[in-house]
Amino acid sequence: MTNDLMLLMPLIIVGAGAILLMIASTYDKFTHELAAYGSAGVFAVAFLVQLSSCIAGNVAPFSEVFNGILVVSNFSKAAGLIILACGCFTALSSQTYFRRNNFCSPEYYSLTAFAAAGMLLLTMAQELISVFIALEIMSLAIYILVGYDRKNVISTEAVLKYLMLGAFAGAFFVMGSALVYGAAGSTKFVKIGQYLAANGMLHSPVMIGGAFFIMVAFLFKAAAFPFHAWVVDVYDGASVPVTGYMATALKTAIFAVFANFLVIDGALQHKWITFLFYISVLTMFVGNLIAIGQQSLKRMLAASGIVHSGYLLIALVAVGTKDFTGSVIAFYLAAYAASTLGIFTALSYLGGTGEARKTFDDFKGLAKARPYSAAAISIFLLSMAGIPPTAGFMGKFYIITSAIDAGQITLAVLGIVSSIISMWYYLRLIIAMYFHEASEQFDEPAPSSLAPVCTFILVLCVFAISLYPIAV
């Protein structure tokens, strides 16, 4: 039992921290800046605890907690690390962002921590009801965060859209769980897997329907085709730090649970592989088509998030059910999170009051005025595009290797074609920043040094992650 609690410690710290922050924020003296430092501290402590349990902790790579409802594996630990790091950077860059945009209150940071608690639970959940609870803890907090700027029409539209569609996805998930429970007699992934292994997938229509509904819910949250349409508007409507948080931490959590679900039910993955193959290809290409046409940077990044979901789906298709470590997926998520969060962190201090700078054209000539910020953004973009020696390249390399190793050569080649296409819109921003004359001065000072420091740390992360060798 003590061991169980130790493994859950990061989750407990973040959850307790969120509650404390919520209570503290009822006092007038507790400003939102204090809340920012407080939540960053909570995330940092939880990150260190998680890190220590990764390095020294449990020797067994795969341990059940609470009678198999939750499982702590190396994969869930890695995903937890990514989520906690994203939370910490988001809190710090939010502090800078809200120096310019004053719609913040201390509850914002409490909600960030609640969302992180839900995400952490999601990475460990091995049972459908816990997945649903975790999903809802996370989503409810995110809904509020998306609509935090209440007076902004776009933001309100975004939250309405996200809330309606998200509620549908949640309903699909519950419906699917009920059907699966009806067929397999259990909500635990392991039991479902055993049932499938014994009876086969196509034996019962209830099972097919249930699994289909659950897939729909996951694909919706993961922003995969054909459930991708909400992404661009919602990311655009949310404030910059929240968008960054959604694009990285939330995606990490969803892909973690998606991978756990597919891998434990080996038979399920096997049956859905063709389906996922097409979903992955379509996600990549539809995302690219959306991204090419965008004028707004945030919308482009949202669409590129769809494309990256497609790459992660490649990894899911290729993932082996035998001794699953998830290292490819975790590595790619880490690489993607570092570069995406980096761009959003940079935008949080470059965007100006009320996010005045939005489009590619607004960033023309940035390199002359702010060479270091422009260089950092270029590095993040190159990493997202998968150009060595950045982390994004290694992530893509691992994904292609695992795909070809699994015999999915077509998928690997299509993934490569998609990343050739994606070069266009990543290069476009670099070209705007470097090769055009500045139309404005960018001379207002950064409102606080936290976000620039975070950007710098993330640049280092982009290179450090690429050097970190993984076991495939």
């Binding site: 190159l382 150009i387 390399f397 290797t401 080649v413 490569i416 050739i420 290069l427 470097y434 090769f435």
Partner: protein, 506 residues
């Protein structure tokens, strides 16, 4: 000699470049640093050259495991093929700092970065490491072209970048495919280049992987019909970038073919060699004819460079020792002659503010030394006996005739086109009546004259006494064809009527 000399040659310029970019150094500091670092690299490479044993295998090997679960390592080494490309870079790049003294900091910093990355690509003995340097090589070119290029630089930048990245990403898939096949056939992961020759690749996927590599290298070389980015990029790029692109980077494309395609895909290569050889010859003719029609001398040199790259590529596709050795010799010869010509073109453009041939005339009277140097480099470029260009072209044509008479005859006769456009251009620019633009043309300064002198001497020495160079190249090229006899026996006879001539036995 210390142990990690190759690493130093690679990372000294890269580190210096990064430091220059990250600090607010002035342009004279940047130029001085660049000069010092490139001269230091030159000294190290000369030392490397002196210590090179010409065993044919990789020498100065460094090997540090990196990602052990996939058998990827930080492995470096040079053999007779890579040594000469490395040397060409080290000898030629210091010239830029002598000749162009008033550029921005980023110009010199990017030049240092590209120098290090090119050295890395040539020395890498692991495919993943090679790929990383190969891609990194492009980034400084992208920035130099986009920041310091001519008026039409943006389309040119996008064209070269998208073209090259498309090619290299396909190559990445092919590299991964090789690694996975190695894992499947030998039960262990490895991306080491020398192990790939042991692979037994057949079937459709192998052919696709072959084209994955071939297209990437054909774009970089550039081989007909993938040359369309070249005229724009070469013309719009600042002189140093054109120089780097034509003198060294294009050669790394050829190097890639020799290193990956010839040993690994021997069967596919034998099957498609005739097609590729014709692509080389057609590129040679087409670009040569296009060069005659150009009015802009930089653009003319761009087409001329593309035409010569066709010859060099042809030497690789002929699949015999003579042609391959000739190719490598010609790589150095072409790097020195065309590289110097592009630098001279840069000087001409800087001092007369025009690139149009018709605006110039009578420069020989104003600047005799410049005209002499230009003439020597130009004659080497067209392959006059007594200059370095002759040896290489002769060996390539010899090998080509041995491979396929028609190809050989076409290649030999096409060389004459080069003489046409070069001499005609020389006549119009350097002789005839003095044009107003070139009236006040300044002669090369003493520093410039002395800086170019070693390279000009090298062109002549290489033309008169090629033996010391050839003796270092031949062992490595001979090893390229030392395939087991069974492979030759299996080679499909679809293209090769005379199999013994197609894949030569050592």
């Amino acid at each position: 000699m210390f142990e990690h000399v190759l690493s130093v040659i690679i990372f000294l310029p890269i580190l210096a470049g990064l430091i220059l970019l990250a600090t607010p150094a002035s342009r004279s500091v940047a130029r001085f640093t660049g000069l010092a670092v490139s001269l230091a690299t030159l000294v190290l490479s000369l030392d490397l050259y002196a210590g090179f044993q010409a065993t044919g295998h990789l020498e100065f090997v460094e090997n540090i495991p990196w990602i052990e679960s996939l058998g990827i390592s930080y492995a470096l080494g040079v053999d007779g093929i890579s040594l000469f490309i490395l040397m060409a870079g080290s000898v030629l790049l210091p010239l830029v700092y002598f000749v162009f003294g008033t550029r921005e900091k980023g110009y010199y910093a990017n030049l240092l970065l590209v120098q290090g990355a090119m050295a890395g690509a040539v020395c890498a003995a692991d495919m993943i490491l090679f790929y990383i340097f190969w891609e990194v090589m492009l980034l400084p070119v992208f920035f130099m072209l986009g920041l310091y290029g001519g008026p039409q630089r943006l389309p040119a930048t996008l064209k070269i970048t998208l073209y090259t990245i498309a090619g290299s990403l396909l190559m990445l898939a092919a590299i991964v495919y090789l690694g996975v096949s190695y894992h499947a056939q030998f039960g262990e992961w490895s991306f080491a280049m020398d192990k790939m020759a042991a692979l037994n690749l057949t079937g459709r996927v192998a052919a696709v992987a072959f084209f994955g590599f071939m297209i990437a290298f054909a774009i970089k070389i550039p081989l007909f019909p993938f040359h369309t980015w070249l005229p724009d990029a070469y013309t719009e790029a600042p002189t140093a970038t054109t120089f780097v692109l034509s003198a060294i980077m294009a050669k790394i494309g050829v190097y890639g073919v020799i290193r990956f395609v010839v040993p690994v895909f021997d069967l596919e290569f034998a099957r498609f060699a005739i097609l590729l050889a014709y692509a080389g010859v057609i590129g040679m003719m087409y670009c040569g004819l296009a060069a005659i029609a150009q009015k802009d001398f930089k653009r003319m040199l761009a087409f001329s460079s593309a035409s010569h790259m066709g010859v060099i590529a042809l030497g690789v596709f002929c699949m015999n020792i003579q042609a391959l050795t000739g190719s490598i010799y010609q790589i150095v010869a072409h790097a020195t002659s065309t590289g110097v010509l592009f630098l001279f073109a840069g000087i001409l453009e800087e001092r007369t503010n025009t690139r149009t041939i018709d605006d110039l005339g009578g420069i020989a009277a104003k600047a005799p030394v410049f005209a002499l140097y230009f003439a020597i480099a130009m004659l080497a470029s067209v392959g006059l006996p007594g200059t370095s260009g002759f040896i290489g072209e002769f060996m390539i044509v010899l090998g080509a005739i041995k491979f396929n008479t028609a190809v050989g005859v076409l290649a030999g006769t096409t060389l004459i086109i080069g003489v046409c456009y070069m001499l005609w251009m020389f006549q119009r620019v350097f002789f005839e009546k003095t044009a107003s633009r070139s009236e006040n043309f300044k002669e090369l300064s003493l520093v410039e004259g002395l800086a170019f002198l070693p390279v000009i001497l090298l062109i002549i020495v290489m033309g008169i006494y090629p033996h010391p160079f050839l003796s270092k190249i031949t062992p490595s090229t001979a090893l390229q064809f030392a395939q087991p006899a069974s492979v030759v026996a299996q080679a499909p006879a679809s293209n090769a009527q005379n199999l013994g001539l197609t894949i030569e036995q050592k």
